[in-house]
């Protein structure tokens, strides 16, 4: 760790310890905050050589979002959550679906997926300190699945008081309820935090107008409930040594079929030890366990039958060495055992072992120029495949108010066990199967990213352009008929080259009077040969997010924050294959915007009251397609929180 990083770490701890005393400027414009995802080392946001978008604790608090999907859509243009078959959630970020964007919690992968997307409801937003988003291929640091970007959710692990209690609740339309609580104790070298959250929402119907598509349309939004428990222990037995241990349990029940609800459980645990054994060397060892199960609860017979289990055991080592104050080398290696037992396999559970090693060098040539490069090698036992990836980034800071970045990154996504071995009776009727393909090639991408950021007094502007070339995208074929069995099936396959390019503009301001504003616009365009066969909808070309907030502290016992936020998604014209007629139709999905106003009041004795009106303009889609917001109109939300 070099001198700059030591200073950064000290600043971070100081910022955390004195969050209340931090200026509004730094907190809102964010450029003095710290990020880790782009380089795997702690860096000041304004100075990190890899462009990183940060959603801060303040943003999270102001959004009052229950889940990560609401928050990302509200904060990041170009991110859209839609639905796929069985009303499973699918994310699209600048042309990459859930399987092409790597989700991490504190740098750790999440086990399990449904329709290629991680279970987004696993993330308890009340536990989140910040979210770091790195768009573009990042496999040279994170390996498989970091094809289109990395979203790293950093949880809270610091506490300034000896004893801390929080209780919170929120209610909204459709009997949506959220209750949470946490207890934190900090004494001597140990800090422990235990949190729990419960959510529930009823099933409700949505009604489309006559004349729309007969498929890919939602008529009932399935309700459900979740429980999320997490314990986090931090030990600092001596100078330079930090040990963290965590354990979590997550439960979700979805009322897709009221008499046969889907159940999802996750058991997670992990331990990480970081030791700085000299001024220029530190080492980190970690172990992570994550088990994601799915089961069907047969209410009539009271049987809870598990039919899916994904177990990931990961051991990782990371070593940093600084050569003087300007050059840091990071060496890392990881071993993962991935076990998958699934109802979609007809010949037993599968295991994949993978190992990798990477090295990164971060060289600050002088105060203006910084270069970062990384190379990584991954090996996968299943199929005996391997992959080498590289990354190169250049950062130029001519003055303290300007940062220019240019980066090239390679990404890949090795075929999953599911995509290789699946043989799934899709409708449960023995009529149509989805078949795996043992000959799948890894999906690869190359990303070029250029950005410029300008900081002027209370204002920050950024402009970004990107180009992704994707090879061998993994998707499913159109329906085919097996000549021997006369059975209809769809098969995983690689499709030809795909280009995704676009850009993003962001302007934000924070004035001393307490007023803040941010506008972000994103453009994304996908170009491929032929008709896309992906079951997921492509990205909308234009999208924007807006935020206007005002905070004022009236007296010691009362402060007030009002936030108006919105997002706009342009219309989407998509060519889709009608499986009945095998004719390609041009389908037009309409543009829409959603606005939300929220008021938060902090009162005496740690009590706060939040009221929000979501979908302020009462927008209702004409047709509830898979990519329409499943809103029935304005939604009044009321919540409270109490801190001791």
């Amino acid at each position: 760790m070099n001198k700059r990083q030591h200073i950064a770490l000290a600043c971070l701890l100081s910022v955390a310890a004195n969050a209340g005393a931090q200026t509004e400027y730094a907190d809102s414009v964010q450029m003095e905050e710290f990020v880790v995802t782009g380089t795997r080392t702690l860096k000041v946001l304004a100075e990190t050589p890899i462009q990183t978008r940060l959603i801060s604790a303040k943003d999270i608090k102001e959004s009052d979002a229950t889940n990560i999907s609401d928050l990302l859509q509200q904060e990041i243009p170009g991110v859209e959550f839609s639905y796929s078959m069985s009303q499973q959630v699918n994310m699209n970020m600048a042309g990459f679906s859930g399987q092409g964007v790597l989700f991490l919690i504190d740098g750790e992968r999440l086990a399990g997926e449904t329709m290629d997307n991680t279970d987004f409801q696993r993330i308890d937003m009340s536990n989140v300190e910040r979210i770091e988003i790195v768009k573009g291929a990042a496999s040279a640091l994170y390996g498989s699945s970091a094809n289109g970007g990395v979203i790293n959710i950093i949880t809270k692990d610091r506490q300034k008081s000896l004893f801390k209690i929080n209780a919170n609740a929120r209610i909204a339309a459709h009997n949506e309820q959220r209750y949470g609580g946490s207890i934190g104790i900090s004494k001597g070298m140990a800090t422990n935090s235990l949190s729990v959250q419960h959510t529930r929402i009823d099933t409700y119907d949505v009604h489309s107008a006559e004349g729309g598509l007969s498929s890919n349309i939602v008529s009932s939004v399935y309700g459900g409930r979740t429980w999320n428990f997490k314990d986090h222990l931090v030990l600092k037995p001596c100078d330079g040594l930090k040990i963290t241990a965590r354990a979590g349990y997550f439960f979700r029940e979805r009322l897709f079929n009221p008499l046969l609800p889907d159940r999802y459980r996750d058991y997670s645990a992990g331990m990480r030890a970081k030791y700085r054994f000299s001024e220029s060397d530190d080492i980190e060892l970690s172990y992570s366990f994550d088990q994601y199960d799915k089961s069907d609860f047969q209410k009539m017979a009271k049987l809870d039958i598990r039919d899916y289990s994904n177990v990931q055991n990961i051991v990782r080592g990371l070593y940093n060495h600084s050569f003087g104050t300007s050059n840091t080398i990071t060496i890392g290696s990881e071993f993962m055992r991935d076990y998958l037992s699934s109802y979609q396999f007809d010949d037993g559970a599968k295991v994949q072992k993978s190992a990798n090693a990477f090295v990164q060098d971060d060289w600050e040539i002088n105060r203006q120029w910084e270069v970062i490069g990384a190379v990584r090698y991954d090996y996968f036992s299943n199929g005996k495949t391997s992959r080498a990836t590289t990354k190169l980034g250049i950062c130029y800071k001519p003055t303290s108010s300007q940062t220019f970045r240019l980066s090239y990154g390679e990404g890949f996504r090795t075929p999953t066990l599911k995509e290789r071995f699946m043989n799934f009776d899709m409708l449960g009727t023995g009529s149509i199967y989805i078949r795996g393909n043992k000959n799948l090639k890894p999906e690869t991408s190359r990303n070029l990213n250029a950005s410029a950021e300008f900081y002027l007094s209370h204002y920050t502007f950024s402009i970004t352009g990107f180009y992704n070339k994707v090879h061998n995208r993994i998707t499913t074929s159109s329906p085919q008929t097996d000549a021997e069995s006369n059975q209809q099936y769809m098969k995983y396959m690689n499709i030809s080259n795909l280009s995704i390019y676009g850009g993003e503009l962001t302007a934000q301001a924070q004035w001393p009077c307490g007023l803040g504003a941010r506008v972000s616009y994103a453009y994304s365009k996908e170009e491929s040969k032929g008709t896309s066969l992906t079951p997921y909808l492509p990205a909308r070309p234009h999208s924007a997010t807006f935020k206007l907030n005002y905070s004022r502290k009236f007296c010691k016992k009362y402060d007030f924050t009002a936030t108006l936020s919105g997002r706009y998604l342009s219309e989407l014209n998509n060519k889709e294959l009608d499986i009945t007629s095998y004719v390609v139709y041009n389908i037009k999905y309409p543009a829409y915007s959603l606005w939300k106003i929220s008021l938060s009041q902090q009162m005496a004795k740690g009590f706060s009251l939040n009221i929000a009106l979501d979908n302020l303009l009462g927008y209702k889609p004409k047709y509830y397609y898979y990519n329409a917001p499943l809103t029935t109109g304005r939604n009044l939300m009321a919540g409270m929180s109490w801190n001791l």
Binding site: S219, Y267, Y287, F289, D293, I305, D307, A349, S431, Q488
Partner: protein, 252 residues
């Protein structure tokens, strides 16, 4: 002292890590879940004292009718004919439609003539997936959801029993074209009221299942009555159409 503290901490962490590694490769907490058991149908149950019984039928496939005799407490399974081996009776066959479920329209495409559906000598009602037939009788849907609460049969003196109806778009047989909604239906009788005990909705894949939960009174061919309740439709291994039927017979 300081070194010992560090050593103990790291040692404890290493032991914990090793234990976790050794125990968790293929997952933990198996005890949280129930174990799937065999899908072989259990013996039928009947208590002469209460006249209550339970029949379990594996009707999970589309190619068979299962004929149930409450008189003999037996189940006879017969395949649906898919070809014509003799002279056509003028009505038996598999009718193919292009199906628009949203607008509930069926466009005739093809008729494959077949032999007549065979029947055993003794039967009272029959099931095919969730479709039903009643031999020379009818069905009445009550508002009761449990046989325990059901009053005497005389309470339903004014009940109107619905008889079977002939159709060519109710009893699915060939679902190989399901994905494109090109479906072959058996030209068959089926009971529109008793069939409501469970509706399979395939409007948006995958299918969803909607049991009514109601008790049905069935008038049999000899004038006796039975009370039927579909207690379950899923096997322990998640087969849909694995029917557990509770009944009272004779129901008086």
């Amino acid at each position: 002292m300081r070194n010992k503290k560090i050593t103990n901490t790291i040692g404890g962490a290493a032991i914990t890590l090793s234990l976790l590694l050794l125990s968790s490769c293929n997952g933990l907490f198996d005890g949280v879940y129930d174990e799937p058991v065999s899908d072989s149908t259990p013996d039928n149950q009947y208590d002469p004292a209460t006249r209550r019984g339970r029949i379990v039928v594996n009707a999970s496939t589309f190619d068979k009718w299962h004929y149930i005799s409450l008189h003999h407490r037996s189940v006879t399974t017969m395949d649906i004919p898919t070809s014509l081996t003799g002279e056509w009776d003028g009505k038996s066959g598999i009718t193919y439609h292009d199906v628009d479920l949203k607008n509930d329209t069926y466009t005739f495409k093809n008729l494959v003539k077949t032999d007549a559906m065979p029947e055993p000598e003794e039967w009272d009602f029959a099931v095919h997936k969730f479709d039903t037939r009643i031999k020379d009788g009818g069905a009445y849907e009550t508002d009761f959801t449990s046989l325990d609460d059901l009053p005497a049969a005389s309470s339903f003196g004014n009940a109107v029993f619905s008889e079977d109806e002939c159709s060519n778009n109710i009893v699915m047989n060939d679902i190989s074209g399901m994905l494109s909604y090109y479906i072959g239906y058996q030209n068959s009788l089926s009971n529109p009221v008793l069939g409501r005990w469970l509706v399979m909705d395939i409007t948006t894949p995958p299918p969803t299942y909607h049991p009514s939960g109601k008790v049905y009174i069935v008038r049999l061919h000899d004038g006796t009555k039975a009370a039927l309740h579909l207690a379950n439709y899923i096997s322990p291994n998640n087969l849909k159409g694995y029917l557990t039927i509770d009944y009272i017979y004779p129901y008086e």
